[in-house]
């Protein structure tokens, strides 16, 4: 199943999304791009029905560009999120788009923001968000380890923890892509995952004697 995760750093956003494209029990490709660049400082990451995902996200990207051209001014992350949510809400009772999204953006005054949206058209602004089965594993991990004001290195370390967790406990897994959204632009970060043993956590990986 598809995993999508994002969390706020000090003044940027990290987005982790799996890059597997498959159907039923077959993995068709492992380098699928599920993140769409809306403009210089906004990313739309989507998981769900692949046809719906491409169709909906490309439509959003093109309309955001049209807005920028018409008004000579880019959409704010908040405005963009509300626009996307509106489109999802309109289509749910007509021909629903089966996509779950996270909009990650950085604005000058507001700073980094994450908008979590699902295919029914509900939306929530959050500090960290996860879509898919991965949520069952990662939300608790993030609750424990996420702090406000993380640096990029700390953020990538946290991402490694998350990927490790999925690799250890999640039935289905594959390759991931990491995107870093800043005020100046978006960049893909390679997530070098050592194939070796995960950092052992005492009491989890190694037994700790129970004090009588």
């Amino acid at each position: 199943m598809e995993a999508l995760l994002a969390f706020n750093l000090r003044d940027s956003v990290l987005v982790l999304v799996d890059s597997t494209a498959g159907r039923s029990i077959v993995k068709m490709k492992e380098d699928e791009e599920k993140v769409y660049r809306i403009d210089n400082n906004k990313l739309l990451a989507a998981v769900g029905e692949s046809g719906d995902r491409v169709q909906f996200c490309e439509y959003i990207v093109r309309n955001a560009q049209l807005y920028t051209l018409r008004n000579n001014y880019p959409l704010s992350t908040k405005a963009c999120a509300h626009y996307i949510r509106g489109e999802l809400a309109e289509s749910i009772r007509r021909s629903p788009y089966n996509v779950n999204l996270i909009l990650a953006g950085v604005d000058k005054e507001v700073g980094p923001s994450i908008y979590y949206m699902d295919y029914l058209g509900s939306m929530q602004k959050m500090n960290f968000a996860v879509h898919g089965y991965a949520a069952h594993f990662l939300l608790s991990l993030l609750d424990r380890h996420y702090k406000a004001d993380l640096s990029l290195d700390q953020g990538v370390e946290l991402l490694r923890r998350c990927v490790n967790e999925l690799k250890t406990r999640f039935l289905i897994g594959g390759k991931f892509k990491v995107k870093h959204v800043t005020l100046d632009g978006t960049i893909e970060i390679p997530l070098d995952m050592p194939e070796a043993e995960p950092t052992p956590i005492p009491g989890y990986h190694t037994p700790v004697p129970i004090k009588a």
Binding site: Y59, R62, N63, Q65, L66, L69, R70, N72
Partner: protein, 250 residues
């Protein structure tokens, strides 16, 4: 109830479409716009209409972006231009959505011309009272300049002008055009415009389009336009001084 299905643009006995010709008259009343194509650059220079004292000059824009790589200037009815430009912008994005490719300059020009033609052959509508100059670089790097007019015709140009006194400007361009580098092309555009417009940054607005990797679209600031005008005037003075000195030597 009036039915809006009767055509307004109809043929005259001698084969003219008077509404289209009247639309061209409206274009001729608009402020001048000049477009020049260079080797690696495209320049649009427009006459900045004098704004009233209390009016904000930045809201009167005659050079507009159609997409990241295409820019247009127009002459004629500003409100008509707004509608047409909006349609063109939507088409540019729609094309990108369907074909995952940016429009070529010719495609978007053809589209605009098509819209203008449709309004000369539909019921209840009048033609758009604008001519446009559309510039941009195609994906293969070729610079292109096109012009459309109210009749819906379009053609490609090396340099052209539209609006008030466009004939004078075009004649100047015909005499002096050279496929040249950036500085010379900007100078030619401004010189041509200055044939019919009072010189000074208050009256001239210049936009320069380069290939995306070389900078894309840039509006010249007041200082930059001043600098160009100053250089033109210096060269003119130097020419006149050289001409008069050679005359006196004879």
């Amino acid at each position: 109830m009036a039915k809006y299905d009767r055509a307004i643009t109809v043929f005259s006995p001698d084969g003219h479409l008077f509404q289209v010709e009247y639309a061209l008259e409206a274009v001729r009343k608009g402020s001048t716009a000049v477009g020049v194509r260079g080797k690696d650059i495209l320049v649009l220079a427009v006459e900045r209409k004098s704004t009233a004292k209390l009016q904000e000059p930045r809201t009167v824009r005659k050079i507009v972006k159609l997409d990241e790589h295409i820019v247009a200037a127009f002459a004629g009815l500003t409100a008509d231009a707004r509608v047409l430009i909006n349609k063109a912008r939507i088409e540019a994005q729609s094309y990108r959505l369907t074909l995952e490719d940016p429009v070529t300059v010719e495609y978007i020009t053809k589209y605009i011309a098509q819209v203008q033609q449709r309004y000369t052959q539909s019921g209840g509508v009048r033609p758009f009272g604008i001519s446009t100059l559309i510039v941009g670089f195609d994906v293969d790097g070729t610079p292109r300049l096109f012009q459309t007019d109210p009749s819906g015709t379009f053609s490609e140009w090396k340099a052209n002008a539209t609006g008030r006194n466009s004939k004078t400007v075009r004649e100047y361009l015909e005499k002096n055009y050279e496929d040249a580098g950036a500085e010379q092309t900007v100078q030619l555009a401004v010189k041509a415009l200055m044939e019919v417009v009072e010189s000074g940054t208050r009256n001239v607005e210049v936009a320069v389009m380069r290939r995306p990797k070389e900078g894309g679209l840039k509006f010249l600031s007041d200082e930059e336009v001043d600098a160009v005008i100053k250089k033109i005037e210096e060269e003119k003075a130097a020419e006149e001084a050289a001409a008069s000195s050679s005359k006196s030597q004879k």
